[in-house]
């Protein structure tokens, strides 16, 4: 699965910089994400991964540079604006309400209403459909999220991001709190997202987790792009060198 350079990227960054006070989190970042593609962004703690996701998801505004959707410059004023353009983000902490059940979480804030009351039947039907497409295994869509495992919760959060069929899905540090089997399950899930035609961007501070599923690996170091690699060919040593800045 290598990229086809001629395609128009769905989402791009051109020369994007962002500072927090004196700390420069991103410096002149260029990035392209295509449909049917999984891009992994790796880097050490403080490399700027979360800031990058923040800018792409509309949660943060860049100080300089441009965000482009289908090669046209856009201004993402907030996450809702990004959603409207087909960009959905799943943040590291998932932002689920543990006391609500799976269906309630999936549709929170965008519940369909029928005759003034919530349309539970429509929601539950759609919930099974979404989870089925991700082959996510949950004991029931009517138990509180508090009763689910970490991997199941992540699947719920990702399923929620799929509502409204976004073209780009941003996953911030999705493997951080997962065990080995859960990571394997998660990677299958990402492959399904790619097969559905989504453009997927995943950040991680771990090298080994994402290499199996990514098409391209972008290394961030101290806020700059420090190399972009074809995931099939790059070696562990190359990536480690790019991440840490140590010459091989």
């Amino acid at each position: 699965m290598s990229t086809v350079p001629a395609r128009t990227p769905v989402l791009s960054l051109r020369g994007v910089s962002r500072s927090f006070g004196a700390a420069r989190a991103l410096l002149g970042i260029d990035l392209d994400i295509h449909a049917h593609e999984v891009v992994a962004v790796v880097g050490d703690t403080g490399a700027g991964k979360s800031t990058l996701v923040g800018v792409l998801s509309g949660a943060l505004q860049p100080d300089e540079g441009q965000v482009l959707v289908d090669d046209a410059p856009v201004t993402l004023t907030d996450p809702a604006a990004a959603r409207a353009l087909g960009i959905a983000a799943v943040f590291q902490d998932l932002a689920l309400c543990a006391n609500l059940d799976v269906v309630e979480n999936l549709f929170l804030g965008q519940e369909p209403v029928r005759g003034g009351l919530l349309d539970e039947v429509a929601m539950e039907k759609e919930a099974w459909k979404l989870l089925g497409q991700l082959a996510a295994r949950v004991p029931s869509v009517r138990i509180p999220v508090a009763g689910l495992s970490g991997g199941q919760r992540r699947a719920v959060a990702i399923a929620r991001s799929l509502l409204g069929e976004p073209r780009v899905i941003l996953l911030d540090e999705p493997t951080a709190s997962l065990g080995l089997t859960q990571i394997a399950e998660f990677l299958t899930l990402v492959e399904r997202l790619r097969a559905r035609g989504h453009a997927v961007l995943i950040t991680s501070h771990s090298l080994s987790d994402l290499q199996a599923v990514a098409d391209r690996i972008v290394v961030l170091r101290l806020g700059r792009t420090n190399g972009e690699f074809d995931a099939d060919r790059v070696t562990y040593e190359d990536l480690l060198a790019a991440m840490t800045g140590v010459a091989r």
Binding site: P79, A80, F91, L94, A95, L96, C97, A98, N99, L100, E104, N105, L108, G109, Q110, E111, V113, G116, L117, L118, E120, V121, A122, E124, K125, W128, L131, G132, Q133, A135, A136, R137, V138, P139, S140, P144, A146, G147, R160, R192
Partner: protein, 395 residues
């Protein structure tokens, strides 16, 4: 792509899990209420007399309405400690407005409810704009509102409502005529059965798991039996009091709002995790403000019903006792103090438990000290159960 795997569960294990985590709280609490009734009946044969039960329901209504407001704030993980004071102020406004100033009674009632709305909006604004914890500023509110109540009542400190006023008659001597109460029972059962069957049919059409026809009919039968028994038994005495009927109707409406409307879902989401709810697009501030306003308004309505029941407002109206009883009723009824969990019905169950203990001990000629102690112990048990269920959920 394989279908989602549904893990097989033994029905017994599932029931135990739901009991342990408090997903099914109404059943054990109803059982506790029945147990309390059996104990008091065995100690004093007149406890379950229809006369006593009619009194019990009539006495429950005013504080029950206040407890309903507390249930809403507890859903958000917040608390309003000034509900008693707000009810006292509302009582004072009704009595002074209608008797001393000579307003029409309806205007005085409207003014009292408006005061409740305003106080709630103010609490909501203070909480959302300044982020002050609710138990602190409602404690401040308790003192300020209590002071307002004394000022409204003036120097004599007590105002009587004439017994022939409609508010007093509504709260003391109005009972649903037998025919009307049976019509209400029939309508409620028919509505419930209709909505359940329609829901079941829609789930079938959507190819979702649907409850069996037998279980739907069983639920309808249980509801019909409970309502019919209550109406028939209370009917051997004076019947179902208008004020109690109003209370139950408010509980049912609140239950519908909490479970089946977007507002209700937002309330539970904010109570569970306000930050997650905000990021999901829930208007958190608006939810907080509406809940504080609803709570204070219900507290004011409780005060209006209390002044009707006593036919008087005085400096002791809505004393700290009222706040404590209302909060205790909400928690004993099964609404969690940790936010995001509970049911409107816990206001009804909780106040019935507290009133039953209170009347039961009075029938046994035991005084206030025992009533306080026993109610306190029951509250402590409820709080411990709430904490244990929370722990079970987090595992």
């Amino acid at each position: 792509m394989s279908a989602p795997l549904v893990a097989p569960q033994r029905p017994g294990a599932e029931l135990w899990r739901r009991l342990r985590t408090g997903e099914m709280s109404a059943l054990p609490i109803t059982a506790a209420l029945v147990l309390i009734w059996i104990v008091f009946q065995s100690l004093n044969g007149s406890f379950l007399s229809s006369d006593n039960l009619v009194n019990l329901t009539q006495q429950s209504a005013a504080t029950g309405v206040i407890a309903l407001g507390v249930v809403l704030t507890l859903h958000l993980g917040q608390i309003d400690l000034s509900v008693g004071a707000v009810s006292g102020l509302a009582a004072a406004i009704v009595a002074v407005g209608a008797v001393r100033i000579g307003w029409p009674l309806a205007l005085a009632v409207a003014a009292a409810l408006a005061a409740g709305v305003l106080i709630g909006l103010l609490y909501g604004a203070v909480h959302t704009r300044l982020g002050v914890p609710s138990f602190v500023f409602t404690l401040a509110g308790l003192l300020v509102v209590g002071g307002l109540q004394l000022r409204v009542l003036g120097s004599t400190g007590s105002v009587n409502l004439p017994f022939q006023s409609w508010l007093v008659r509504f709260c003391q001597t109005s009972f649903l005529p037998p025919l009307l109460s049976w019509l209400v029972v029939a309508a409620v059962v028919a509505l419930y059965a209709g909505s359940r069957l329609q829901d079941r049919a829609r789930r079938h059409r959507a190819e979702l798991s649907a409850p069996s026809l037998a279980s739907v009919l069983a639920r309808v039968a249980v509801l019909a039996a409970v309502l019919a028994t209550a109406v028939a038994y209370l009917g051997t005495n004076r019947g179902v009091g208008a004020v109690f009927a109003l209370f139950v109707a408010l509980v049912a409406l609140t239950d519908l709002a909490l479970r089946r409307t977007r507002w209700g879902r937002f309330v539970r989401a904010v109570g569970g995790d306000a930050e997650a709810a905000r990021r999901a697009g829930v208007p958190v501030r608006r939810v907080l403000v509406t809940v504080f306003a609803a709570c204070s308004t219900l507290a004011a309505l409780g005060g209006v019903l209390a002044v009707g029941r006593l036919a008087a407002a005085n400096q002791a109206s809505g004393a700290v006792d009222v706040t404590l009883t209302a909060v205790a009723a909400a928690v004993i009824g099964g609404t969690s103090m940790y936010g995001g969990r509970g049911s409107a019905w816990s206001a009804l169950l909780g106040i019935l438990i507290i009133q039953s203990i209170s009347t039961g001990l009075t029938l046994l000629n035991l005084d206030q000290s025992v009533r306080y102690a026993v109610t306190g112990i029951v509250l402590a048990i409820a709080v411990v159960i709430d904490a244990l269920q929370r722990r079970a959920r987090e595992q």
